[in-house]
Symmetry: C2
């Protein structure tokens, strides 16, 4: 292998990331460097090959035909390197199980229960990565993800953990402990919303409430909207599992609940990555859905 004819691996990595994300800034964020480093690497590659690899299109950078050609191969090769690296980490019997999950699920469902797992399996280490981002189990090196949705995740094994239709909740001080009403009565309330998807808006609308006609405050994280709602500042809509603890303790009241919804939390695993520790964790998860 004649490495003299291959440009810097760092430069190739920077280029691949920029081409994949069509943005130097995004590439810089993924690689934890400044955009200037990315720009310099791409420029260096263009000088090396005597070809243009990226071109500006408005506020994005698109690969040229030559650039696309190169980046396809690089994405494959670097993906292979990342996977090989991951596979070896897995072979270290002491590596912690890496779990990807949403911050709200981690906080309200998993954390209240995890003590039981630690008590019965003190030898198995867990690393929970709460993130609103959609992670790539393979490339990002996760053993398992818990995702909210309907169950269509190509290439992964999915097992339903818990139904979790939407639920609208408020503090008792806002609506009283024995609230009885319908959705359209809530039009005057102050809605504290976290990243509502189209799906939630459709459900609200089907039940007589148009969110665009209400007073809405956007929050970055579910934990923030929940705290504000607990304090009586307004109402919110969340997956049922997230609010169950509060409802049971009386901190929050369920105003409206989605019945027989097919959305829920699922356990996602890779077919090619199974370990005794992972199986033990999945077993434990299954047991949790039988204890409300």
């Amino acid at each position: 292998m004649d490495w003299r004819r291959v440009p810097s691996l760092s430069a190739l990595r920077a280029f691949e990331t920029a081409a994949r994300l069509t943005s130097y800034s995004a590439a810089a964020r993924e690689l934890n460097v400044t955009h200037a480093a990315i720009a310099q690497h791409v420029r260096k590659l263009e000088d090396h090959f005597g070809l243009s690899l990226m071109q500006r299109e408005g506020q994005t950078m698109q690969p040229t035909a030559d650039g696309a050609r190169l980046s396809r191969s690089l994405t494959k090769a670097f993906g292979q390197i990342a996977e090989a690296s991951e596979d070896l980490i897995v072979r270290d019997a002491d590596h912690p199980l890496r779990i990807a999950t949403t911050p709200s699920f981690a906080e309200y469902w998993l954390m209240p229960r995890i003590g039981g797992f630690w008590a019965s399996h003190p030898d198995i280490r867990i690393e929970i990565a709460p993130s609103g981002d959609l992670v790539d189990l393979r490339a990002d090196g996760f053993d398992l993800a818990i995702r909210y949705g309907r169950g269509n995740w190509p290439g992964l094994n999915a097992e339903r953990l818990e139904s979790a239709g939407h639920i609208v909740v408020a503090a008792p001080s806002v609506v009283g402990k024995d609230y009885v009403g319908c959705m359209s009565d809530l039009g005057d309330q102050h809605w504290l919303i976290t990243g509502t998807s189209t799906e939630e808006r459709v459900w609200l609308k089907e039940n007589g409430l148009d969110l665009s006609k209400c007073r809405v405050t956007q929050m970055d994280v579910t934990a923030l909207s929940l705290q504000a709602v607990r304090a009586g500042h307004g109402i919110t809509i969340v997956p049922r599992a997230v609010a169950m603890g509060d409802i049971e303790s009386g901190t929050l009241v369920a105003l409206c609940e989605e019945i027989d919804s097919d959305v829920g939390y699922h356990i996602l695993t890779r077919p090619d990555r199974v370990s005794p520790q992972l199986k033990t964790f999945i077993s434990w998860l299954r047991k949790q859905r039988k204890t409300p």
Copy 2:
């Protein structure tokens, strides 16, 4: 892609080379660094993964099972990167044609003729890499190789350029201009040999001469043995094409010649790498074999 979980690409490259070559020294030579750099990179990877990747076996380093697993993937991935890089260099229409050939062929066959190519194709640049090493057309980025042998090169297109059985030559001052004799008469001569393969020794023996019983001086490069022979210091055995110029001019005399040999020089190309310039060069090569 979570690059935080992937170790240094430089370290991975050093490891892959060491595992492939089963030697830190050889890896150091391929990468043009010291063995200490290789050793440190491998050590760093072992610390990162918490696994042993290489183990000492006498004066070699063999990959462990884990190491072999990783290096297989890396060899593929880095090979892909090298190829993608190469492909892009080729797309630069101005890149010179890279020709791999033995130093003696380059010197005695190609250089005396190349002026004709330059005269008729001044726009096509040529880069000739004379080397005794066996090159990998793909990984080392060559457009064409001229190799001496019988024509069995898997994965490459081979076309015979010229028959070139072995020939034993000497200066006229040593044996006279009109030498008539047989091989076994040459036992007393001083043989100046360049890396004789088993094949040459077998041929000499079939014709009555055991080289191990002669006075032999080993030379590193054919050019050196030929100069010594021209100066009358001894005799040598070379491929016919290499000595033809000298024989025709009378500088050297052919003592014994291999008849109807199936060894020769072949034009080797990659099926996946064809350019108009390359085709032009091959056409020119074909024409040269018709002009003695």
